[in-house]
Symmetry: D2
Subunit: 349 residues, 4 copies
């Protein structure tokens, strides 16, 4: 159950609502309260519809909603209209989940100033709006390159200033959130950290939006619950990112569950994008999967692009070079147009 | 290694080639020989390039090809141009893998004359070219409806005559091949039978094309090898059908591996279609997945449609009703056009 | 619902029971009827407990049982005591599911007289009771050895006569059941054919017991339903065989789901054995998994053993040589004893 | 390549060795150096055997080892004898990987003083040596109980003093390592954090041993690499814990990959235990899986036990009550004895 308070509700009004909810046997969920004038009630309590009626009758209450899904704030029951996540950039606000798909592009790892600047300029020219690049890298082996850390963040920030692109970069642990927040416009939570709950809670207390990659073997329901952690702790701006799941198939690095985009569009109001690079692990397959992602209704893409994929310090096999990236962007144009027409039709969503 | 003979090659010419191949330590693969004037050599033999040179020098030999993939006839190495599988129908030949995507539609099970005739007329009007319907049904439980058998086949054949649609229907065992062949235009091999090798061999000896669904947990390589069974036993007309694989995810009935379409388009010259109904198990997701399938480059779709899905004897939850099917076909039109433009460009394939 | 008739029930008595069942809205399941004086009712009918009462009151009825599981005859609800499957051999009847674990051993493929005779003599000496060996081989590639067919069956039958071992061998299609039945004591259904329903039905009409391997990605419920096909069609003697399932892990050929043995022991009265060879795909892991299988309560093992694994025509990497097999059998002895003590305790089962 | 220095090696000696290694084109791995007088070299360098020879010839070098596995310190190549991880307790040092299997037991969550004390006393009496209990709980939903945090740790520490049991408890993020270290004898890394590299690095700098649970969909190789993170950063005491992997099967909560124990025993010198509670998710299956785990060669078990599983705040369905736990421990005794005999045989390992 979610109760939203009227705009002028006082802390005392909220406390009264909480008391009333408790009198029906429910617990108050702490995280969401103050910031948003929204009270969440969870647990197994008494007569739900009587409780809803009693709350609705209180003058300070705007709306009281029973929500049956285990995820509350991220569910379609909570909000019927689609959420647009707004990302600031020197070139103006970028809208994910808005009127057109948005492409994020860049290398797997930040390797240096020249690599990033060349990539940023070229992908911006090709139509990307957000620059990706890892400064903290989760690597299977302790002996592989672990990222340039703050030096890498500064390189990204510099490219931001010079190109007008916004920045998305990975944060791997709650103790790094404050540092990364100084540089990035959009936090990326990697697959291995989708259920790093300390990190999710810390990001819930940030004001920057979060790109939440799906865990390697996470169900869609678990993924929604992970987003709920962020939102319930105060940050409503979460974007899902399908990047392939782990299966028995080895012809591709992962199995891209594109239908998950359509499933999410039924279950949540939050945007969802697709990462065709990690989903396939193979450069030649990226454009085809990108095309299918836009066709199925994704709100955007995140794509690995590198000036010299064969010299990349990580993930070269799945990176497009900058010409290939440009060709893909042009190929996607008519699919983007069909996407926009569908989104503008009143029946959609 | 595959050796193709010149058109006027005699059995004696072929025998000489076989002897030469054996002299290098390779075995002759029996299945393919006579019918197609093609000799296949397998096994671990001696100097491969010397053998190829020796064979190429023989006057009756047109071409001798070393093929490194474990699948030979179905590989791109064997044939660079895409194969068009031709399916006869009262309304003319249907081409799968040709200039436009082809849609197959109909109910999961043949339930009776009226159901099939209504479905056939409506899906034909909406643009489907092939009618699907099961007369032999593989059901998890022995207590579920097992299909109308020959009675069902006769109903399909009648609908074929009246509507001009071609027929695709499942055959479950080699001992039924002769019976089903009397009625169908296209054999369907179901997921559970993808590695029913006795069935694949029997279909290799048939002259009707084969729609080969991917096994629930089959790798793409195993799938290609299953097709190789059919082709190596004499039937070159195989169409792949991606219908979702089994994973840990339960939000959808299966996980639709759409990237497999792009992988197959790199590895084989044979056509590939997608079944969005089994891939998702949920009616509301079918149009979105169908759209993505065309966008990624599938040569067609096979879709469950039923006059009254809520009364269907099987798979009602994933069947579109006939109005929904029609709406989906109209929605797909601009995607089909983009598909055709791409296919007509010289660089494609 | 399952109704068992008294011993002297006539066809007319059975017909009356069937009519009564139908009057409550249920359907009669055809397969099981006459042979066993058991009537199965399925489908969605009227008041189940009233129907049970009415049937129990009929003089010809011994027992009427509501069974909630989708599998009926194979469920613990149908039979509380464990079924012992009896297999004839020249050396006397072998009991699977009886007082001690039974080991089946032999090569993957029958390669010739000498290979089989050497293997049979040695594994018999080491304590195996049943000789395994494939005469019809399901191979991923059409170019791999497909088995010696009837010649291989004859070789097995000869070894049976000379050593007293019973024989287990694979049958791949319903059209081969009559042939294989002439030679084998126990049919093996391979993983790829676990849901080959035409084959399961044909085996249901045989009088020889069936070893039913689990499908590569079959759930335990689907496996039980596959056994139900055999039993519902008239053959009550089914043995389950866990041989590993397909997962993302590649360190072993398959992932051995040993807990499935414990799950089956809760859900069914039928015996279950384990195949540590296919489960691991690696010789060095076979003894450890065999030990765990006995410890968890399996009724036996089926193990690949070959005089010269490095020269085996198939599956050499997972075959023990005959000395290794003997060592494993000695290592298992104390575990077999613990198994037997547990089985003899009244509380067990 | 791993180089171990003689005991009296000085920092200057180590620096010389590092220079020599670099002169062959390899990089020095920072983490492992000083503490252990071991130098790790990674990357792609020049002539490996020449480099090994040159290093071996240096007077300060004890041993220079080429290691081909991507994991170095945890591999059998690095150490042939099995590592015994020593855990201090008020009742004396506990050895994991020593002469007998060790059982850890306790509730999923620390709920309060009484629950923990009752559990601790009873499981100690039954033969457990280590008390488990979560004070920081990774829960799928933000609305579920998240653990008592430091209050819970203090309760565990109190039980430790009163019963002599050692403590194992989960740490979820690097920023909690210092806090948890004050209370626990053994850190637990949960499945969702197996690749939380910031956490693994922090634990590498701790002097307490680490119980590393396998990730839900982690390969054995990835698991070994995760352990390598801990060891390469300075902490040699890692214990693996198989707790089931995620597959398509739903009859059990996870699929217990018991063969992984045998695989690890081939690949690493570190101990491995099994968690039959999470592996199955079902109380009735726990004893059977525990038995199989000991039989296959696990160095111990971690088992959920609770005074009143039906009232547990989490994981009640898979928790044994304290009588059931005691019965299981007695049932395991003969299997433990067989385990010990095998371990004492010279051929083992």
């Amino acid at each position: 159950m979610i109760v939203s308070m009227k705009k002028n509700a006082t802390p005392r009004d909220i406390a009264e609502v909480c008391d009333r909810i408790r009198s029906f046997g429910y617990r108050i969920h702490a995280g969401a309260g103050d910031e948003r004038s929204i009270v969440g009630a969870v647990g197994v309590g008494g007569d739900l519809s009587a409780c809803i009626d009693a709350l609705t009758a209180m003058p300070q209450v705007e709306r009281a909603l029973p929500i049956s899904a285990p995820y509350k704030f991220v569910s379609r029951e909570f909000r019927q209209t689609r959420t647009v996540v707004k990302i600031p950039s020197p070139a103006g606000t970028i809208e994910i989940g808005g009127d057109s798909p948005v492409v994020m592009a860049g290398p797997c790892s930040v390797e240096g100033e020249a690599q990033i600047m060349e990539t940023a300029r070229r992908v911006a020219n090709s139509g990307a709006r957000i620059l990706r690049g890892g400064a903290f890298k989760p690597r299977t082996s302790p002996y592989e390159f672990q990222g340039l850390a703050e030096e890498g963040l500064a390189i990204l920030a510099n490219a931001r200033e010079k190109t007008g692109l916004a920045i998305v970069t990975e944060v791997m642990t709650d103790s790094d959130v404050a540092l990364v927040e100084q540089y990035t416009d959009l936090f990326q939570v990697g697959s291995r950290n989708m259920q790093n709950f300390a990190l999710l809670k810390a990001l819930g207390r940030s004001s920057r939006p979060v790109l939440l990659k799906r865990g390697l073997s996470s169900t869609i329901k678990e993924w929604l619950m992970a987003a709920e952690y962020v939102v319930a702790h105060g940050n409503p701006n979460v974007i899902f990112c399908e990047r392939g799941i782990r299966t028995f198939e080895t012809a591709t690095r992962n199995t891209c569950d594109l239908a998950a985009v359509a499933v999410l569009n039924e279950l949540t109001h939050l945007p969802v994008i697709v990462d065709p690079s990690h989903a396939t692990g193979k450069r030649s397959l990226v454009p085809a999967v990108a095309r299918a992602a836009i066709a199925i209704g994704a709100d955007g893409l995140i794509v690995e692009a590198h000036p010299h994929p064969d010299k990349a310090w990580s993930d070269g096999a799945q990176s497009l070079n900058l010409d290939e990236f440009d060709a893909m962007m042009r190929m996607l144009e008519p699919y983007n147009e069909l996407w926009c027409e569908a989104r503008l039709e009143p029946a959609y969503a």
